[in-house]
Amino acid sequence: MRRPVMRPRLVALLLAIVGALCGGSVFADQVLIHTEHSLYRQVLVYDDGSGRCLCFTRLCAIGRQSCVDLKRPDYLVFDYTRMMLGALLLSPAPRSVLVIGLGGGTLPHALAGLLPDARIDVVEIDPAVRRVADQYFAFRPDARVRVFEEDGRAYVRRMLRTDQRYQLIMLDAYDHQYIPEHMLTREFLTEVRSLLSPGGVVAANTFSSSRLYQNESVTYAGVFGSFYNLKSNNRVILASAGTLPELDAIRRNADQLGPALSKLGVSMPALLERFTTSPDWDPNARVLTDQYSPANLLNAAP
């Protein structure tokens, strides 16, 4: 499936323009080093010599899934991955972790480093993403970090029929272009909650703008009650299957985890500042259910 690099200069120029317009480009002069059409999407890998990004669209400034800094492979380039690790402030040492959505493998890699005793299961629907994570992002599963090629919801339901439960579940299966709608409903979140051990924590990388914000918020609040709502360009929801830990407990865990997380580029004060539970959404928005889940249409609406 590998194809020659297509007009790298043009792509670089285009990216530079897009980057300048959006003001969000991490790496300049990116060159396309790999592209393939998978069963679900186009998978592209860009590289500028110092950094490497996985993208699902040519407009990589918008559609970046994962980026690594080649000189500091453990450094978390994206704000959202740092916020996702905020889940550890709710529960500092989970022994079983489920990550839905592999991308370049950034999150499972970081978690494996931070939690040497944890077993980490990753579910990824797209075999091409798994291959690319292996070849271009050096993501190698082992006895402790396993990858399952499967639909995330089908996996969750399958696990519910076993004794397997997780102390931390990370939902990283949504992107700006496409949301798997069956994984953003009250029923799915209820299944996720059931798959958590008592007091287990869920972290979801979701959306901060568009009409969907309202629906998504009431849907999560309906299943988990109060949750920490961390926002930057993305939005990360941190919720608990039990009682949501108070900010004091969060701060104590932050003191404990601070040194380890700062090695990954997480600034603890900046992260803590984002922890808020105050609702800023319309409580009357329509809850998303298996019967009503036009998440992509709502996400396209302003």
Partner: protein
């Protein structure tokens, strides 16, 4: 009026089939996911059911075809869709436990829920062609127009359902709405006095 009703029935039937097919994906996703093979299973079942429905519809048109019988076929397709609302979730849940491979699970699920309504819907077009065609020389012309109406209806059903209906209604409400329109169109056709069937010549 007679012809208009024939085209209306064929066009609506096309709309109905594609709306249900799209919603089928929605109904299966919680149990089998929305992988490419889940859609593959749904499309396979619909195509297979339609193809066999065409055979059955053509065959049924051999013995004293009437507009009323065509209306009955349309209404029957709507009625056999209703078990989806009542049994759908329970059945898919059980099925996903028995057939853990999502490919065969979704194939079986789609077949059990959607084969019959799609099969009956497939009977509509060939039956309507029989009622429409007056003589051999115009048969292709009429068949062409009927295909146009039916497939155009399918396009409209796909677009309206996926762009708009899912934004306002729940899946089951849409299924009910579709079935309701089928019944309404069927009753309308049933009530039209047996006007001149335009194809008694052989």
């Amino acid at each position: 009026m007679y012809r208009v009703l024939l085209y209306l029935i064929a066009g609506w039937s096309g709309f109905f089939v594609m709306a249900i097919e799209l919603l089928g994906g929605r109904l299966l996703a919680p149990y089998f996911g929305s992988s490419i093979y889940v859609w593959g299973a749904i499309i396979t079942v619909f195509m297979l059911a339609l193809s066999l429905g065409y055979l059955a519809g053509g065959r049924a048109s051999l013995t004293s075809p009437t507009l009323r019988r065509l209306a009955a076929i349309l209404m029957a397709a709507a009625l056999v869709t209703l078990p989806v609302l009542v049994l759908g979730d329970t059945m898919l849940d059980r099925l996903s436990v028995v057939l853990t491979d999502p490919r065969f699970g979704s194939l079986a699920g789609a077949a059990l829920l959607f084969f019959l309504p799609t099969f009956v819907s497939g009977m509509v077009s060939p039956y309507a062609v029989r009622l429409l065609v007056a003589d051999r020389s115009s048969s292709g012309h009429h068949a062409g127009k009927l295909y146009f109406v039916s497939t155009f209806g399918s396009a409209a059903g796909t677009l309206l359902t996926s762009f708009y209906l899912v934004l306002y209604l729940e899946v089951n409400q849409i299924v009910l709405l579709m079935a309701g329109v089928s019944i309404a169109v069927g009753i309308l056709a049933w009530l039209v006095p047996a006007a001149e069937p335009c194809g008694e010549a052989t």
